[in-house]
């Protein structure tokens, strides 16, 4: 009976075949390391964000005067388990970003941007951009002081480009001279409808593309189509079950015991358009850019420096032309990669600190170190090619 039902559906949908091919039989290299689970984790947290988002959306009011109370009073105190839903969404966003960053950094480590996976990398980069827009628009919604001033600063960002039209772009983003009802409803619509839909489509493409090309192996060999050294994906799923349970346990710790790092206290002060809070810094996932931006004492150059980082990330497949893959096989690359990570971490941490001359100096130094990584890539590639030719 159940067999015939299965056949009835299968002959009409073909979904079982796709599932069998992509989720069960799809082969991945043996000995995948832990970071290979980050993609699945990211998808899991995306799902958590969507579900918790739908539920907090049921009580949230996109309105200058009502938003703050709808979050801090209605959701946190009136709705049964509302605090849980909000923590889920706020802590989930932090975990999602952390996973995406680590996913990106391991992608660089294993050289996952190289041929034939350039498109996987580029779609991933676009996902990263969309996620930054998502967290920014989401950050604005509770209408606390940080929300308000973050959205003010971000919507003024286009004016960093010294063109007359940019003043207008900034006005168009805000829909007025300052952040108002129209700005909230506008960014709210982006946050709850447009950007998530876009993200779903992009994630689908990202997954389809790497299923087409196969994943990199940790030691940099191309094993796609190699039956001997690969295993069906279904066995990896079991390992991912372990990792998901462990990460969810950490997630639960933050939700039930310590959600403060994800709901900054300064944002519990209602938005006040007449006063900027004394210590204001963006959330940790943007502090590296923030540190670069503020340590360069020129509005336009600071803006461009931040963008240079993002553009270098995007064009990694062009910068790194060496045929060799994976940092495990490239000692020079490995060394530069460590410098890159350290500089990024220092920038991110320094960005949370008050703006002092010392912070600006640190920002400049480590920005340069960060850039050296990208600039050194063609040189390393050149040496590696030479060496290979000699052998």
């Amino acid at each position: 009976m159940s067999q015939s039902v299965k056949e009835w559906f299968e002959s009409r949908t073909g979904l079982g075949k796709i599932f069998q091919k992509e989720m069960v039989e799809y082969r991945v290299p043996k000995g995948l390391t832990l970071p290979y689970s980050l993609g699945v984790l990211a998808v899991l947290f995306f799902a958590i964000q969507i579900i918790s988002g739908i539920f907090v959306l049921m009580y949230y009011k996109p309105d200058m005067k009502l938003a703050f109370d709808s979050v801090n009073y209605t959701i946190m105190q009136v709705v049964p388990w509302g605090w849980f839903l909000r923590s889920l969404h706020a802590v989930g966003a932090g975990f999602f970003m952390a996973i995406i960053y680590t996913h990106m950094f391991t992608g660089i480590y294993y050289n996952a941007y190289k041929s034939p996976r350039q498109l996987v990398w580029i779609i991933g980069w676009i996902i990263y951009m969309v996620m930054i827009l998502l967290v920014l628009t989401g950050y604005l919604l509770p209408q606390g002081q940080l929300s308000y001033w973050a959205s003010e600063v971000v919507s003024e960002m286009p004016t960093a480009i010294p063109l007359d039209i940019m003043e207008k772009v900034s006005l168009w983003i805000k829909g007025g001279f300052s952040i108002g009802d129209i700005t909230i409803t506008r960014l709210f619509a982006l946050h709850v409808v447009f950007l998530p839909l876009l993200l779903i489509a992009l994630v689908f493409l990202h997954i389809q593309f790497f299923h087409q090309t196969g994943v990199t192996s940790p030691d940099g060999r191309e094993l796609h189509g190699n039956e001997k050294e690969t295993v069906p994906f279904i066995y990896v799923t079991l390992k991912e079950g372990v990792i998901i349970a462990v990460v969810l346990a950490a997630f639960a710790y933050f939700i039930f015991f310590y959600s403060a790092p994800f709901t900054p206290s300064a944002n519990f002060e209602p938005a006040n358009p007449m006063r900027t809070p004394a210590d204001i810094a963006p959330e940790w996932y943007l502090t590296a850019f923030y540190e670069i931006f503020r340590s360069i004492p020129n509005k336009f150059l600071g803006f461009m420096a931040t963008n240079v980082f993002l553009i270098f990330l995007l064009i990694l497949p062009i910068l790194d032309t060496s045929k060799k893959k994976s940092a495990t096989k490239r000692p020079l690359f490995y060394f530069m990669y460590l410098l890159f990570l350290i500089s990024f971490a220092v920038l991110a941490i320094e960005g949370t600190q008050p703006a002092t001359a010392q912070a600006a100096a640190i920002g400049k130094i480590f920005f340069i170190i960060n850039m050296i990584f990208f600039i050194s890539l063609p040189i390393i590639s050149h040496f590696e090619k030479k060496k290979e030719a000699l052998q």
């Binding site: 005067k65 109370d69 066995y235 079991l238 079950g241 462990v246 039930f256 790092p261 991110a348």
Partner: protein, 215 residues
């Protein structure tokens, strides 16, 4: 060897998240004095909050509201405002949102603004955004914390200040009992997930040995 190479990376990324999420980067500038800590240790939170509500109504409601606790400035009880206030409270189950509150008492709030330069804020969320230490020191001596502020020094005792601060805590944060409940649920959830992880690992091992797959 393979593992050694990943140690620095784990240290850097792990250290980054630890620093960003543990709060070590934002040391508290203002501290609650020892004498006040002693009061908190001796008296239960519920008792302090109850005392605090009374003290708050006595000293603070000339200017401030705590809307999340249905406490409004004394001007709402003036003869010209009281009927409207009572009606609004009844119609809105005690919670006046900002449209209602700021429209109904626009004149009174304007008066406060004229007297103090800005409308004295609603204190429903003050405990969180000021932090316990800053809040305590601010109530004790406003000029010390925010020089130039129009907030007068009410010359309250430590006990009164602790009580007010505890009362404001209950306006935005869960009560001690509720927090304990959340911690209990959290502990169960974490234990459950760890058990699940162990089961997954055992199952995986059993499957792999049986199928003869190395991974």
């Amino acid at each position: 060897m393979k593992f050694l190479r990943s140690i620095p990376i784990i240290l850097i990324i792990g250290g980054l998240f630890y620093a960003l999420w543990s709060g070590i980067l934002e040391p508290e500038k203002w501290k609650v004095p020892h004498s006040a800590e002693l009061i908190k240790a001796k008296v239960s939170e519920a008792q302090l909050a109850k005392e605090g509500e009374k003290t708050f109504k006595m000293f603070c409601t000339a200017c401030h509201s705590v809307r999340y606790k249905e406490i409004y400035p004394t001007f709402v009880n003036a003869p010209n405002a009281k009927p409207l206030f009572k009606l609004l409270m009844k119609k809105n189950n005690g919670f006046l949102n900002r449209y209602i509150y700021e429209s109904a008492f626009a004149l009174q709030l304007k008066g406060l603004k004229a007297a103090f330069g800005s409308v004295p804020p609603d204190l429903s969320t003050a405990y969180v955004y000021m932090g316990e230490g800053k809040l305590f020191n601010f109530i004790k001596d406003p000029q010390k914390v925010l020089p130039g502020t129009k907030m007068p020094n009410m010359h309250l005792s430590d006990r009164q200040v602790v009580a007010i601060s505890t009362f404001l805590k209950t306006a935005i944060l869960p009560t001690e009992k509720e927090t304990q409940k959340r911690h209990l649920i959290g502990t169960f959830v974490i234990i459950f997930l760890i058990v699940l992880a162990v089961l997954f690992a055992l199952y995986r091992k059993a499957v792999l040995t049986e199928e003869g797959i190395e991974d």
